[in-house]
């Protein structure tokens, strides 16, 4: 069992019994569900919108080389520097290189999931730089030295009391129970950070091949400020984010908002086409875009699961997933949690270490149903199990199924097994729940089904008499 798998099992066990955690997550996600349903019902045809979105993404991902090339050359023509990174180490070095060249000391960041993926903050801090997260939720988890709990709602696992206490400890603020006051404390501190930061780092939600732009979706205005005030803007994004046409955003922007947070449109949807252009009064002098592969091409090479690269990171599959809702975000131990994380992490970080995530699913299909770009998530989880089994067979499971196959193919053996089972079940209470109990993982929380008093054959014979 891999370390990641042990950690998953341990944390899942603990959190599924944590009733406070459960009620917290259920309350937050209930609010999301109500908002999402009301906004979704406004669409003239949500299902056709999903189909169209899936087709556009299919086109984009299956012609990735063409669109990526077009995107990069259009962006470069507007004075942007485009960098290419095959690995997270390369991406970190590129960003550190830019920051060092500019003699930068302080960095303001808006939410960058690819940054979490490559552990950018640690690398920057190790190099002696100050990095401040500006998204409110990210700021909170940064102060707690914690990973985001959810890639859309990073601080969903905390209540205001805990945040107030955190601010008291770390920022010396007065305790308060008012979410607005808490926000104001962070706003006050961060305002100055935007103005004094040398470099702003952002992610990107979409990239437009046709016009050479990146698109950033946010609610708070922190990304807008991050891209407006510092003299250097560095954006880090995965290579799969490209969309062919500017018009495509007319569909993707509202769908991301509705599926992700139950909004008509997210507060700020901003398109950036390079650094400050001639005749413009503000904005960064330099714009660097770092395009990250980090095994995305590995997922691309799997035609069966390639559509997992369609993901727009809305988080809808996490929000509806019965496993996520019970085990929580940190249990996954991954940058991308929930069903989509369970599908892509084995590709991005290794099948052997992460194959257990394919089993973190009840296969109910709620994720597939929720996905705005129609990724076949629950089938991919099933395929993940198959792939893991084919590449890393477990000898005792194979043996067990062989024996099972042998037994059920011979009626004599079936009869023998069921008679034995009846005896065994009568004796079971003697060892039930103890270490000797072979069915312990099951009987710890459930009752075993009763073996029938007679087999069908026995029943048939007795009926004839």
């Amino acid at each position: 069992m891999s370390a990641a798998s042990q950690q998953f099992e341990h944390d899942a066990e603990r959190l599924t019994h944590d009733l406070r955690h459960r009620s917290l997550i259920q309350t937050a996600l209930k609010k999301y569900e109500v908002a999402r349903d009301s906004k979704k019902s406004r669409y003239q045809d949500w299902q056709s919108a999903r189909q169209t979105a899936a087709e556009i993404k299919w086109d984009a991902v299956n012609h990735l080389n063409t669109y990526l090339e077009e995107f990069a050359s259009k962006l470069e023509a507007r004075g942007a520097h485009v960098h290419w990174a095959s690995t997270s180490e390369q991406a970190r070095q590129i960003i550190l290189g830019i920051v060092r060249e500019k003699n930068a000391r302080s960095i303001i960041k808006s939410k960058v999931m690819t940054g979490e993926e490559i552990h950018l903050n640690e690398a920057l801090e190790k190099a002696g730089l100050t990095v401040v997260e500006s998204d409110f939720g990210e700021y909170i988890v940064q102060l707690r030295h914690e990973a985001p709990y959810h890639f859309v709602f990073p601080a969903m696992h905390l209540v205001r009391g805990e945040i107030s206490k955190l601010f008291e400890e770390k920022l010396g603020s007065k305790p308060t129970n008012d979410p607005e006051e808490l926000m104001m404390i962070a706003r006050g501190i961060l305002r100055n950070k935007y103005i004094t930061a040398d470099v702003g780092i952002t992610g990107a939600n979409f990239a437009i091949a046709e016009t050479g732009m990146i698109s950033i979706t946010e609610n708070e205005g922190n990304a807008r400020l991050t891209c407006a005030l510092p003299k250097v803007h560095i954006a880090l994004m995965g290579i799969e984010k490209v969309l062919p046409k500017l018009q495509d955003l007319a569909l993707f922007m509202p769908m991301l908002a509705t599926a992700g947070a139950g909004q008509v449109l997210t507060g700020y949807n901003s398109l950036y086409a390079g650094p400050r252009q001639p005749g413009e009064s503000d904005g960064p002098d330099e714009f660097h875009l770092v395009l990250l592969d980090n095994k995305r091409t590995h997922l691309l090479a799997d035609a069966e699961q390639r559509d997992a690269l369609h993901c727009i990171r809305c988080g809808a599959c996490l929000n509806v997933c019965p496993i996520y809702r019970n085990v929580g975000g940190h249990t996954y131990g991954t940058t991308y949690q929930g069903p989509i994380g369970s599908v892509i992490t084995p590709h991005l970080r290794g099948l052997q270490e992460w194959k257990h995530l394919s089993y973190a699913s009840s296969l109910c299909g709620a994720c597939t149903e929720a996905c705005p770009v129609k990724i076949d998530l629950h089938h991919h989880l099933l395929q993940g199990r198959r792939n893991a089994m084919a590449r890393y067979p477990v000898w005792w499971e194979r043996l067990a199924f062989k024996v099972f196959g042998l037994v059920v193919n011979h009626s004599l053996l079936v009869g023998l097994a069921s008679s034995l089972a009846r005896v065994a079940q009568r004796l079971h209470p003697l060892i039930k729940g103890t270490r000797l109990d072979p069915a312990r993982p099951w009987t710890r929380s459930r009752e075993l089904p009763q073996v029938a008093k007679q087999t069908f054959k026995e029943f048939w014979r007795s009926r004839k008499r």
């Binding site: 003239q44 899936a54 299919w58 095959s86 407006a228 495509d248 901003s270 086409a273 390079g274 691309l300």
Partner: protein, 233 residues
Amino acid sequence: MNERENIFGRIREALRVQAPVPGAHPAGKGGAKVHTVSEAEAAKHIHEWLPPVGETFEQHAELFRANALDLRAEFHLLDDVREMEDHLRGLAASEGWKKVATHAGELTDRVCAALGLPWMTTDGEYDVRELESCDAGISQCEALIAQTGSVLVSSRSSGGRALSVLPPHHVVLARRDQLLPDLPTAFALLQSKYQSDFPSLISFITGPSRTGDIERILVLGAHGPRKLTILCV
């Protein structure tokens, strides 16, 4: 080190095998509905799937008003520029504005001159601290979008990148003919207006700055403006 070529090499290699088309069943499982994807086709239909917007200006204005209300933004449809000036004077008095920031423009010039307050502009080099200390940022826009209640701004039409997010109150001055029905129309406008010479920032602002990061409770005025007022003549 040429990572660009390495990445493209891996992409080309990966794409040698075709992926199933969305909506089609896995090969051989029967009833496969295979249709080819055409970008131009898709774009034509987007407006048919999105929320309905109505036909007339009145319907669009009504929809924008309803969306603005939902978003806690203020929207006022006024008769003429004089009324706009009065409205803004009223706002300035009730909120006790001492200084405002704006940019050169047909509406902003007239209205700010009538405001009688000290003002700065963000048309050339400006001091960020000074902008931060202003009580309101007054800007024009590219368009208003009824479907979503959004204000479309750009670095060229609306005083740069910071004016619409740094001051605590963003006031948008718009003309009636700038109210567009939906998002596809807004993108079409951008494309026909700028061809390939786009401003470096284009932003769809939908309501005042907000966060739901604490217990999914809505808080306005996260990092950007706490108030958004849209005045349309």
